[in-house]
Symmetry: C2
């Protein structure tokens, strides 16, 4: 098992898995069950990019310098403040003889595991990136282990679009699974106009749920209104628990807002016996656990697992069959 989960790439501290490691060995030579990817583009996790952009007051050059510094220091794009990473796309360059991933040199792929555990080397100083969006054109190499997940890019979608969908594809798949455990559920999505939020709404709608979205602004409301995936849309600050709970009471609440402090609103807005699914990397474990206890809230709280079997194909299918959601994604990629 040691090799398949990448222990051989961990430099410090010893004994932990690559995601928990402070520093990885990102050298491009591969082991027998590894795969080397020639990197074309990184997609930074929304919480990570937001933290970097706010820290540097929107100065793209400083954001770029810090991303380069993180990758050089840690051997991976693992934001030490948010604990999150993102994903990448590239072309398969070399496949070890014992790799079980089923890819071949030349395949255009997206990695479906987080950048927080992917050995990464940047070789172009990110010179084609302005530091102003989470989509980062890049050249370099990345390593995949035996136990990993990789998706060959669909031929009918632009690479940027596929990457953006793959980045959040765990969310709609898990929403689908949970919604089908309830009878005629109501589903509330905090941050419904974003990537994971709009796909979660689409998944809930397809599973037969009645859907409510909470968004932060009139612009987001108008953008989402045309998508046809939210039966109701309310404008509220997701960090204000009383405001959120007054807008909706749901069987299932999905947190897709990439700012801290949304745990209590989600718990208060969920009916007894309901489920809260936390997808935001800004979620605080103690705030969720102690918040539910403090409110005497009998709700099931799920850590949003980014992996559900078949998640990538499920999300791509949602995008193909919901043109308005695709339009939301395209607008976002264009730098909205």
């Amino acid at each position: 098992m040691a090799g398949s989960v990448g222990l051989q790439r961990v430099i410090e501290p010893p004994g932990v898995l690559p995601q928990a490691a402070w520093r990885l060995d990102a050298s491009p030579e591969i082991g027998p069950d590894e795969v080397r990817i020639r990197v074309r583009r990184l997609n930074l996790d929304a919480a990570s990019f937001r933290q970097l952009a706010e820290k540097h007051g929107g100065d793209g050059a400083k954001v770029r310098a810090e991303v380069l510094d993180i990758v050089a220091t840690r051997g991976k794009m693992h934001n030490p403040v948010t604990g999150s990473g993102g994903m990448l796309i590239g072309v398969v360059e070399e496949v070890g003889p014992e790799s079980p991933l089923g890819v071949e040199p030349g395949d255009r792929v997206a990695t479906l595991v987080s950048l927080t555990l992917t050995p990464l080397r940047i070789t172009d100083d990110l010179r084609d990136w302005d530091g102003l969006s989470e989509q980062v054109p890049a050249d370099g190499t990345a390593i995949l282990f035996g136990r990993s997940i990789v998706g060959v890019l669909p031929g009918d979608l632009p690479a940027e679009l596929a990457l953006a969908v793959y980045d959040v594809c765990g969310a709609p798949a898990l929403v689908d699974r949970v919604a089908r455990q309830y009878r005629d559920p109501t589903v509330l999505v905090l941050g419904g106009a974003g990537k994971s939020g709009s796909l979660s709404l689409a998944a809930a709608k397809r599973a037969g749920a009645r859907t409510t979205a909470i968004v932060v602004s009139e612009a987001e409301r108008d953008a989402l209104a045309g998508a046809g995936v939210a039966d109701e849309i309310a404008i509220a600050d997701a960090r204000n628990p009383v405001e959120v709970a007054e807008k909706a009471q749901a069987d299932i609440t999905v947190v897709c807002v990439d700012v801290p402090g949304c745990e209590h609103g989600a718990i208060l807005a969920t009916k007894p016996g309901g489920t809260v699914i936390f997808f935001s990397m800004a979620t605080s474990f103690p705030a969720a656990a102690l918040g539910a206890e403090g409110l005497a809230a009998d709700v099931t709280m799920l850590v949003g697992n980014g992996y559900v079997p078949g998640h990538a194909a499920f999300a791509v299918d949602l995008l193909r069959t919901t043109p308005a959601v695709r339009a939301l994604f395209e607008k976002r990629i264009a730098g909205d």
Copy 2:
């Protein structure tokens, strides 16, 4: 709703719930649906006490001074590093005319909500506490809101024992609920010799599960072996994922170890389709979410909600009917 969840006690920042607040108003005058408790004893959360003890190198006087400082600064015993609190016992002093809690002046009670959201004032400088254990004799006042949980202390158990059980009573109740969703499950408990761990094992056993405990030392193994709640006991470092996964593969894994870094071992030790329940306040949300994704692990991950209806009575009943588990608790209270 504003009053029932204690918004009137939040000083800063405005608009958040008491648990999320930096500072609460702990003044002893009560509102119409509040209850004032005369405090007798605090039970600090294990992660919080450990952090304070390690920070001060086991110097009890410094630990006591910092606890006093936290309570004076924040108006609650909310450790800013661990984000956790604990519980308290005391005597009901005054009940507002609109309180729904059903208690009367003179009742000996334990608060079943976290100290992180309980307005608290200490008036005795904790002079009877040596700073060397998580059980803190104290005098002062605490406030309960309308939407809260309070348990009258059982007459047949010493107060310290009841408090220690109430502190972790969410764990066995949730383990029971999850175990009954599986057929003939195997349940693995990381940290099986501790308070929440031993009660979780007892609950799993009663639900018909086959149980395995992972403990950190031979002393813990020997202490737990006599309790009859673990079918197998293995010694391992819960922070070493490969070691944990080699010891057991379970349908349900329960994390009760109050140190950071146990997420990946728990995920690796859980079978596909299984459930991980995180009860440790030292759990990192991103480590859990990204770890499962990085390992392509199709497991359900639950934030251990400290509230399940009937949890206090359930835990007390487990203790009464499992004398060896009661003995573990008594040993721990005695300062083991």
